[in-house]
Subunit: 139 residues, 4 copies
């Protein structure tokens, strides 16, 4: 018989808030205010914070980073140059190759993504990685 459903694992909002708060602490420690988004495996927003002084135009871009990482299972900033703009345009900007997005993988299962923006690309990625490390996940 064909199974109509499959068992799956979903990121909880409590988990997303833990990751978000860890990212805020990491950005505070770095002295760089950030916009931070956490999305689930469907690239839908779970948790968000824009820190005092972070850029308002990073509100959409950090969400795009989180969505891209959740959809691809890979860090943003690693796509081949020849496809990154085509993917961005074909997705109305939701797929981005800006650094600062990391997949959230729990027990080997891709359950979402985190996207950080307002610093340099490296600062953004470092805050995302620190947030995942704070809850015991690999970046």
């Amino acid at each position: 018989m064909t199974a109509l459903t499959r068992s799956s694992s979903k990121l909880t909002h409590a988990g997303a808030m833990l990751i978000l708060e860890a990212a805020v602490r990491a950005a505070d420690a770095m002295g760089v205010p950030q916009c931070i988004a956490v999305v689930d495996e469907g690239a839908n927003l779970l948790a968000f914070c824009r820190m005092d002084g972070a850029k308002v135009l990073s509100i959409p871009s950090c969400q795009a980073k989180a969505a891209t990482a959740a959809a691809s299972g890979k860090p943003t900033g690693t796509a081949p140059a020849e496809s990154e703009i085509k993917l961005a345009v074909a997705t109305d900007g939701r797929n981005t190759n800006l650094k600062g997005g990391l997949p959230i993988i729990v027990d080997g299962v891709l359950v979402g993504g985190i996207g950080v923006g307002s610093g340099t690309g490296d600062q953004d990625r470092d805050v995302a990685a620190a947030a995942l490390a704070a809850v015991g996940l690999a970046a």
Copy 2:
């Protein structure tokens, strides 16, 4: 001489997170998962949480509620019936008259808005009001 600037008060991200967390607790106590958004006085997103089981299509609508309350300084759901649809369309859906948005007023100054969505309109408004009360603000 014309003054280039005026002194103002802005909602902090720490304050927005307090209000967000209070809303999550109120929704938990009510047993109704919610999407919750907090925006600043310029209607830009500050903090967001989608609770487990809340509707994905409430992600944009709770943000519209928060933006509308922040822009108007009034609860959503109170606009005259003859203008509510026209306002929504003229603002590309950002102005909404769905219940569940409340202005955030601190020391008499309008500093933002909270929008809640996924329950009934009354549940949404009650969660927003409980969140404001939890940080000592009037609904």
Copy 3:
């Protein structure tokens, strides 16, 4: 105790109109009709003028320049080439690296941005800089 608000400084509409009028005069003196936008620190439009003969498609682009400068605190046209297109697409075109946007910084506080468009990139930037200088601000 977490503070709910922080004190801030906002660009007045009277100040924005002064800057706008100074930009119009500078563009007139240069003989190049321009579109000019002034936005606040939340990247929301405060003042705008399209001069006779300026390009209609500069209406959105000068607003994007103003928003980008207001959000980043830096002149547009200075972002690294490897990120400028990605940032533009990830923000639905609101973040641009076209020359002609300058942050508006009063007493050390970033309170908004001016964006100018319809001339060459250098003409646009020069008009923006002349407008800020006319009200005693650094470009």
Copy 4:
């Protein structure tokens, strides 16, 4: 011979700024901060001001009011109820029947529109009418 062109009359930016400034004065006198837009006969933005305390969500809606009045040659708020929403949706929100938009008619020629928003519909219309009267035009 078929004429390829026709002579036309266009609103100047200097004229648009006069109307804008008169609207700001009228709103000030009324004690109601407003968003005010002036567009040309092509419904393209010519001049704009958001006064301190005016609603950010009126930024798009006052532009829609101005565009509607410029396109129709009639005050907004007078369209038949059975078509107003259909027109709004078919124009992606640019055609609105919210009160506060007036055509700008100079020497019998429709050259643009003014749109005002942030007060009640009647306050919005009164500010628009006062602005036209201040430059010797009929509302």
